[in-house]
Amino acid sequence: MPQLLLELFSEEIPARMQKRAEGDLARAFGEKLKAAGLDATAIKTFSSPRRLGLVVDDLPSKAADVNEEKKGPRVGAPDQAIQGFLKSAGLTSIDHAQVVEDKKGAFYVARIERAGRATAEIVQEITPEIIRAFPWPKSMRSGVSDLQWVRPLQNILCLFDGKHVAINVDGVPSEAKTWGHRFHAPAAIEPKDAADHASNLRAAKVEIDRETRKALILENAKKACAAKGLELVDDIGLLEEVAGLVEWPVVILGDMDPAFLDLPGEVIRLSMRTHQKYFAVRDPKTGKLAPHFITVANVEAKDGGKAIAAGNARVLSARLSDAQFFWSVDTATPLFTEERKAKLQKIVFHQKLGSVWDKVERVKALAEELCAVTGADPKLVREAASLCKMDLVTETVGEFPELQGQVGRQLYALTKGNHESVAAAIEDHYRPLGPNDRVPSDKVAMTLALADKMDSLACFWAIDEKPTGSGDPYGLRRAQLGVVRIVLDNRLRLELGAWFVKVARNFALHAPLDRASRFMRLFEEGAAENVTLDVLRSSMRLGFLTAFADQFDDLSKGLKRAEEEVLLARQDDPDFEGVTDSTFNYFRAVVLGHFDNVISVVEADRLKGSARDEHLARFADSVEVYERTSEDVYFFTDQIIGRPLLEFAADRLKVQLRDHGKRHDLVDAVFALGDDDLVRIVARVEALDAFLKTEDGANLLAGYKRAANILAAEEKKGKWSAEEATGEVDASKLSEPAEKALFDALAIALPAARAAVEKEEFAQAMKALSSLRAPVDAFFEKVMVNAEDAVLRRNRLLLLSRLREALSAVADFSKIEG
């Protein structure tokens, strides 16, 4: 079948964007081709600094013909309907439509036959659309052109079936040409097809395939190292980046002044990596860095690369001299100094959450409490907490932010009487940094790591800075996954939801006392100057939390004062009414403590007319209902922070379990029980998973579904109720052997399952339940549930209810699919 080759030839595309662009290009073409009636199953892509392109090998020369029938209005329908039909079917007269009869009468049908368009024409049409809408992370204009592209686009080569297809995008040249290596072979090349394109370019010192470039770099770098008895320090991220910086990779081994080896290895490696994109090299005998580096040039230099190696070595020396200076400043003092602490007090962690030092204090308090869960030594935890953020204000971390934690550890190691656990905690309290990063296993480290993340989660939730679909600027998803992984990997037993509430309460109660007054000021300004609801929203949340910290009286007073002001303002300015109404209600809702209604007022503000009135009315009603007791603090922090965070944790857990091959519906089934002990949840999920894979389990699930359906149907008809379901089976009235057998089996299985669950022996509980399988199957086969006799019917429905109950002891089976 004909082949399509497209090459977008441009000035240098940032390395980090190339790989994703290949995916975006393939996706966009696949979709657009499909929409045009062309199925492209194998789209191959390529990219390099100067080109992005694709090859489709299996495109037909034209799209499939379209034959469809379009049903129209009844014969004799109003003219408007007829005209609309003609327009949509592309007919000029109703005479061209056919009349078809069915039971309801005669109606029009248009038979549309369209010959498929030529593929070249389709490509010519969709390519400009794809280029104009291409999702580059950042794009730009150039010269006088209107086109937005990542960097100036210089040519669009498009060949279909060996023939040039001119693509017209804002005056960008579209010639059937490409160009080789910028310096080695700048002349134009006119390829015949994709294979010719790739091989001609290879001859012109351009390797268009990213994976081939990566393999070449890796292979040659290893060779260059081996020739000197050295070993390459693998760096997959760097390899990917470097493959995007060169079209013709030439590996060069350079020398580094051995005097720099006094620096910590990570500092050297990062200096090389971040600033220079060099690979580090180590001595396989000692495992330590060797005084060399690997750079990947884009040229086969005339002198074999001597000048390039020398030039790069000089640049590296200048870089490492800087690093050496920073390191010498940092190591001149111990890790903890009053000066560093003072600096941390000045660095804003988040405007509403205080300084980094404030965070340290919160984390320290929480970590100390968590010792009861982790079994860590509170003294060491306190020490580690005080030290863990100190390195943020060192010169070295200022230069290499990636080294946070590691620098702290190294500096701490220089102090006398240092403790290995504290060192581990300083370095590892940021971990795990992603799904594949190491989870701290030292008790002190895991305690601090957990406290650091839980504090961020609860506090950002409290100020309503949650991750959204489009962004997670504070890395809260990663933090939550970290919490999940730390808890599970170390089998920590804690009620996560309750802990989140505790953190949030502590934050709210210990928040600086001026928060309440600051909040009042904001509100007053808001009432006077139409401060937007969003601004109020976050500050009020804080105010609300603080309201219970002995500030209640002030707020009540403020409320009265605000009410008066609103009334005054309203007399003067009718336009003021809408805003102040909802602002004012909003404020009351917060102070009176009904958070859900706060949300509904916000919603109401966006709504109009009756929907708005309805929301406001509902709000007004429920505000009255709420009492102001200190118990509410717990309730509301639970509502705002505890439960949503637990759900958030459940989401992360699902992702985690899914990655390990567990079904998400099983997690749902277990979470629905309301448990918040992750270790127990996972144990249940695992037992459930194993159980459902057995024949007994699968059958029992089917039996459960059948029972639940019958009960639900009866409940719906009003012939059975949850209340009735709590009744006792009348054993004397059991008539059929199968129902007697089920009754007996339940009498054994239900308590056995419950007892096993109590002991957290979930496999045992499942085993107890599996004894129900045969009696359940027999019951459904032999027994008619909806018997004429009311007593018999009641008994049977009760048996089904018991069955539902028995299974619910281990999971909510209604959430399980299949």
């Binding site: 000035e11 204009r141 150039s142 750079t295 884009n298 000048a307």
Partner: protein, 295 residues
């Protein structure tokens, strides 16, 4: 174009670049007579990038960064140095080739050295300007900044200008294989009076570093900043954009002097930058308007 001899000293690099860009139709301007932190701030770039009129210019601009002073003791950090600045508006489609040719002229053979365009998006928040482009590497060393301006003074620029900045000292050090800036030959090393960069500038670095870090008067500079700001505003209101821009540059440099004395807290820093940006934006809009803004 006749082959020219490769440069042998610092001033040869400047002369070669000037000749080369003059050949490309640039007006060769002289340094702007205000103290600025970067060549971009010359009105020939900042203001001329705005509006529909075509423009090509190249010039050397002495740049002052008070904080970077090292009393002449650091081999490559200076508080006063030269940038060579080129602006072509609209950028021609072959600007990359033109740029690479300029490197060849100053003696960098692209088949002997490794020249790379590495992503680096340029931004100058004090004048509300940004663009996309690269830092150009030669054997791992950044030798130029290459930018397609997208916004100046918070305004979209149409047509787009291509802007090139050569860090002259660094480039010369690389070309001549010199590790310490003060050892660079400034004029012809075989001339009757050979001078090094140190002969010309070492004393200046020592004294100016002293001034920047020890002798400048922060209170006076605060007053002067306020005065410069007020004057710039007044001039803007009077429709005198170019003088207003001069006072904006003065304010910007006074802020840099204050910053070097470490008397600006992080919060104040933001506010100072915002004040200068407001002035720069005012100048940019007024200038764009006077040029007949693009639709």
């Amino acid at each position: 174009m006749a082959a020219t001899k490769p440069p042998r000293c610092f001033q040869d690099v400047i002369l070669t670049l000037q000749t080369y860009w003059a050949e490309q139709g640039c007006a060769i301007l002289q340094p702007y007579d205000e103290q600025v932190g970067a060549g971009t701030l010359h009105p020939a770039t900042t203001l001329r990038a705005l509006g529909p009129k075509h423009w090509r210019a190249a010039y050397v601009q002495p740049s002052r960064r008070p904080k970077d002073g090292r009393y002449g003791e650091n081999p490559n950090r200076l508080q006063h140095y030269y940038q060579f600045q080129v602006i072509l508006k609209p950028n021609p489609p072959n600007l990359q080739d033109l740029y690479l040719q300029s490197l060849v002229r100053i003696g960098i053979d692209p088949l002997l050295h490794d020249i790379r365009f590495v992503e680096d998006d340029w931004e100058n928040p004090t004048v509300g300007a940004w663009g996309l482009g690269w830092e150009v590497w030669c054997d791992g060393m950044e030798v130029s900044q290459y930018t397609y301006f997208q916004q100046v003074g918070g305004l979209d620029v149409r047509p787009v200008s291509g802007e090139l900045t050569y860090g002259l000292e660094r480039l010369a050090m690389y070309v001549f294989g010199v590790d310490r800036v003060y050892d660079l030959p400034f004029n012809d090393p075989d001339s009757a009076t050979p001078l090094t960069y140190g002969d010309v500038f070492l004393e200046n670095e020592k004294q100016q570093s002293r001034f920047n870090f020890e002798l400048s008067d922060p209170e006076q500079n605060l007053r002067w900043f306020a005065d410069a700001e007020a004057t710039a505003k007044r001039l803007l209101e009077a429709g005198a954009v170019l003088p207003a821009f001069d006072y904006t540059l003065k304010a910007s440099h006074l802020f840099n002097l204050l910053d070097a004395r470490g008397v600006v807290s992080p919060t104040e820093r933001q506010s100072f930058i915002a004040r200068v940006r407001d002035l720069a934006k005012g100048c940019a809009s007024a200038w764009a308007e006077s040029q007949g803004s693009a639709p």
